[in-house]
């Protein structure tokens, strides 16, 4: 072995290709990675699993040069390497397929594959023939011919095929480590099968794949080994064959979760006198006959994997996307919600998933953001806005929610994520809405503010004068806060639990995966 020159040592299939040791990374208020080890063999499909915030995305971003590690070592093919920029990651043959695809729809398949890496004749002229030849060879090599032609415009391809183009793009740059982050989240069943096939082809060609997914089923189908992350630590790496789904879920969640007792008196699950009733909500192929109800004083938690339909329900309810069919009743009266102001008029409020782009006007002050929904209420003669009155309410909100800001005139872009989220929540509280829709309200928020936000959510319903619909992919959050829990799977309501007894969290985990084995919540 030692006779080989160090830089050209050929790694055989099954040998360790990449090893990360003792990687640490902290963000303000969070230790995202607490000394993590990870090892990838040549030609294996290696799954990364863990709950949100467990550290898997952070580790991948370090590997891709998006973040810089605080401490630790990286070793590729027996050599220590450092990666500080995405370009360096590419040079080392590491590529990542992002959830938001990075293709240019107006260009064709080959043009996309070689974007920024075109074949040239000199003087900047393109050599189209060479580019098309190379694209054809590439599709040949990984056996993906027949799905689409190299000159098809990407705009015309389905999401699944676009994903394949994205994979080819990564492979065209001599990628030998490919990271896939939730690659099947928005794919149909058929498209999924195609993707699995391609993963097999890549493996046969000696490409190593790091596969991040919340759908454990997929991992058992496609992966060789799995590494489990929890709270910034690596819990275990094991052959997939050596574990079953139950064990994997136990590894992910660790201890049984202590359910913090909020002393909430349980509301009956009946739909008599419901505050909100939703019947057979349909939207494109992404929501199928979703029905549920919300009572006064109740928090209904709706959860499911990415792509299960959580945000879609929120958007359809609030009139952001026109629903295809479905009836919405508020206090027994049917309402027709066609746009967000219909929803606001009907007494609803939405804390959207993406607070920076959908929740806040970042360049405006805390006061102006919180006061915005009040503008329509606080008008005097000729549309005169009663600013002083609005700002008094802003002051109240800022102190009652404990928003940390030097002044209410501070621009919201300078606030921390948690405080920004409090601003989004508080802007609705001035209007006292009957129905509060919270979409992933604690994502990207530090631990302390997370706890505060959760307390605020329970506080909201304690007077029985409103209800909260909580969309979250964090099961412990759902369990901790909800009176009832609705599990979505692929756009349908799979199961509804009443949160009367401490629920076994792994039972919920199974349900989220689309597998119902326990009978606890059945009516």
């Amino acid at each position: 072995m030692d006779t080989l020159t160090p830089q050209k040592r050929v790694i055989q299939s099954g040998e360790v290709l990449l090893s990360l040791t003792n990687i640490e990374k902290s963000f303000p208020g969070v230790r995202a990675l607490k000394g993590v080890d990870f090892e990838l063999r040549k030609g294996e499909v290696h799954a990364l699993v863990g709950e949100n915030g467990a550290g898997k995305s952070t580790l991948m971003k370090i590997l891709m040069g998006v973040y810089t590690k605080d401490a630790g070592e990286m070793n590729l093919g027996g050599q220590a390497i450092s990666i500080d920029t995405p370009e360096e990651a590419h040079e080392h043959g590491i590529g990542m397929i992002f959830q938001e695809l990075s293709l240019v729809p107006q260009l064709n398949v080959a043009q996309n594959i070689y974007l920024g890496n075109e074949s040239k004749r000199g003087l900047g002229f393109l050599n189209d023939r060479s580019m098309y030849d190379r694209a054809a060879d590439l599709m040949d090599k990984y056996n993906v011919k027949g799905y689409f032609g190299i000159k098809d415009r990407v705009a015309k391809l389905s999401r699944g095929y676009r994903q394949i183009v994205e994979v080819l793009k990564a492979l065209s740059r001599d990628t030998n480590i490919l990271i896939m982050d939730e690659p099947t989240a928005s794919l149909t069943k058929d498209e999924e099968e195609t993707l699995y096939q391609i993963i097999m082809n890549l493996k046969a060609e000696g490409v190593s794949i790091i596969y991040i997914s919340h759908r454990l089923e997929e991992i058992f189908k496609n992966c060789d080994r799995v590494t489990v992350f929890r709270d910034g630590n690596k819990v275990k790496t094991t052959e997939v064959d050596a574990v079953n789904m139950e064990q994997l879920i136990e590894l992910m969640t660790g201890r049984k979760l202590e359910i913090i007792d909020h002393h909430h008196t349980m509301k009956s699950g009946s739909s008599e006198n419901a505050l909100l009733k939703v019947d057979n909500l349909c939207w494109k192929h992404r929501l199928k006959d979703v029905s549920f109800h919300l009572n006064y004083g109740e928090v209904v938690g709706i959860t499911g994997l990415m792509g299960a339909g959580k945000s879609e329900i929120a958007r359809a309810l609030f009139g952001i996307e026109p629903r295809d069919s479905g009836d919405i009743f508020i206090e027994g009266k049917q309402v027709d919600i066609k746009n967000p102001w219909d929803a606001v008029e009907a007494g609803m409020a939405l804390v959207p998933e993406d607070r920076r782009n959908q929740g806040l006007v970042l360049m405006h002050s805390v006061a102006d953001n919180i006061a915005l929904p009040l503008v329509s209420d606080l008008q005097a003669f000729a549309g005169w806005f009663r600013e002083r009155k609005a700002y008094n309410q802003v002051d109240e909100q800022v102190s009652s929610l404990g928003i940390k800001t030097p002044s209410i005139r501070q621009k919201t872009k300078y606030l921390s994520g948690g405080n920004q989220q409090k601003v989004v929540v508080s802007k609705w509280l001035t209007k006292t809405p009957k129905i509060l829709i919270l979409d992933e309200p604690t994502v990207g928020v530090d631990v302390k503010t997370k706890a505060e936000l959760r307390n605020i959510i329970r506080e909201l319903v304690k007077d029985n004068d409103r209800g909260v619909i909580l969309f979250s992919s964090e099961l412990n959050e759902i369990i901790q806060l909800s009176d009832r829990i609705i599990i979505l799977y692929r756009g349908e309501v799979l199961k509804e639990y009443s949160n009367e007894m401490p629920l076994p969290e792994d039972g919920l985990h199974r349900a989220v995966q689309g597998i119902i084995t326990d009978r606890t919540g059945d009516e």
Binding site: W341, V361, Q379
Partner: protein
């Protein structure tokens, strides 16, 4: 708006605070420099009351349109059709005023023309989902063409004394030129709208983040359409003032003036990306451009030099303005 740098004041003193104020309000600095420069080089020819009133009269048309343009740009849009609207409305106004002898009727028809153009712009941008740059570029051609077609490119001369005196020619109480009086009225009204009314709030919010505003229940389409209507009406009003001052309307009037208006607004600190800007800022921006043109003429420079200097001033000002 510039309260964020108060903490800097304590250790660097008052000069530092003034410095930061000027970088935040670059148009004020530009105005000071321009006024000092021409006072030295042109002396009393520039600083005389007579000439300052002239600057005011000349700047009034741009200032009035800059008020509307501030709303448009704060809402994260642009309107390239304003100069065309100005001459189209002026033509209709002149024809009706001359034919009927009624100042009021002419005013109403002229303003209605501006309102119509604004409405079409607003609907194309919101309901038609055409970027405002393109929608208003298209309408700029349509409206300019229509202005030419009304009389077959011939100017319309107006012999109605009450019309001259109401907008362009006369003086209020014998001192205040009417164009300046009307400019002040428009400044006050638009400042109130932007600063103190619900519509103003919606314009800032929509321009700052249209998606978040929509998610908050703001009727963003209605807000943008309203801003375009106000812009159209103010462009028309500018055209009427100009026609009144000239005693005639010409279909080619004001060609290229939209760029001066946009320059005044940007110089005044309004962000081209929307969400930020004030009427007062745009006023100062318009005065800079007005004083610059006037001073260069007094010094005997040609229009070419005026264009060149104006362009340089805009570039320097934007370069020098403090990043937020």
């Amino acid at each position: 708006m510039s309260t964020a740098n108060i903490d800097m004041q304590s250790n660097k003193g008052a000069l530092w605070a003034i410095w930061n104020y000027l970088r935040d309000n670059i148009a004020v600095l530009a105005l000071i420099i321009v006024v000092i420069f021409f006072s030295i080089t042109a002396g009393t020819k520039f600083l005389s009351f007579q000439n300052l009133a002239n600057i005011g009269r000349q700047a009034s048309v741009i200032t009035i349109m800059a008020c509307g343009m501030t709303m448009i740009i704060v809402s994260a849009n642009i309107d390239l059709s304003v100069a065309a609207t100005l001459s189209f409305a002026a033509m209709l106004n002149a024809i009706v005023t001359q034919a009927t002898g009624s100042t009021l009727l002419g005013l109403v028809v002229g303003l209605a023309a501006g309102l119509a153009v604004g409405l079409v712009n607003g609907i194309l941008v919101t309901k038609g989902k055409i970027p405002s740059f393109l929608a208003t570029l298209g309408l700029m051609g349509v409206v300019r063409g229509a202005a030419m077609m009304v009389t077959g490119t011939k100017p319309v001369v107006i012999y109605v004394e009450s019309f001259w005196r109401s907008f362009g020619d006369g003086e209020l109480f014998g001192v205040l030129p009417m164009p300046i009086f009307w400019t002040i009225v428009v400044l006050i009204i638009t400042h109130i709208i932007m600063r103190y009314t619900a519509l103003g709030r919606y314009i800032y919010a929509t321009g700052g983040n249209q998606e978040a505003s929509r998610f908050t229940g703001v009727k963003t389409d209605k807000t943008i359409i309203t801003a375009f209507i106000i812009m159209g009406v103010l462009a028309a009003f500018s055209g009427i003032i100009l026609a009144s001052r000239m005693h005639a309307a010409r279909p080619g009037t004001g060609e290229g003036m939209e760029l001066n208006v946009i320059a005044a607004v940007i110089l005044g600190g309004t962000s081209l990306f929307g969400g930020k800007g004030t009427i007062i800022g745009s006023l100062v921006g318009a005065l800079v451009i007005g004083a610059l043109n006037n001073g260069l003429i007094i010094l005997g420079f040609s229009t070419h030099v005026q264009m060149l200097v104006r362009g340089l001033v805009i570039i320097l000002a934007v370069l020098f303005a403090r990043e937020d």
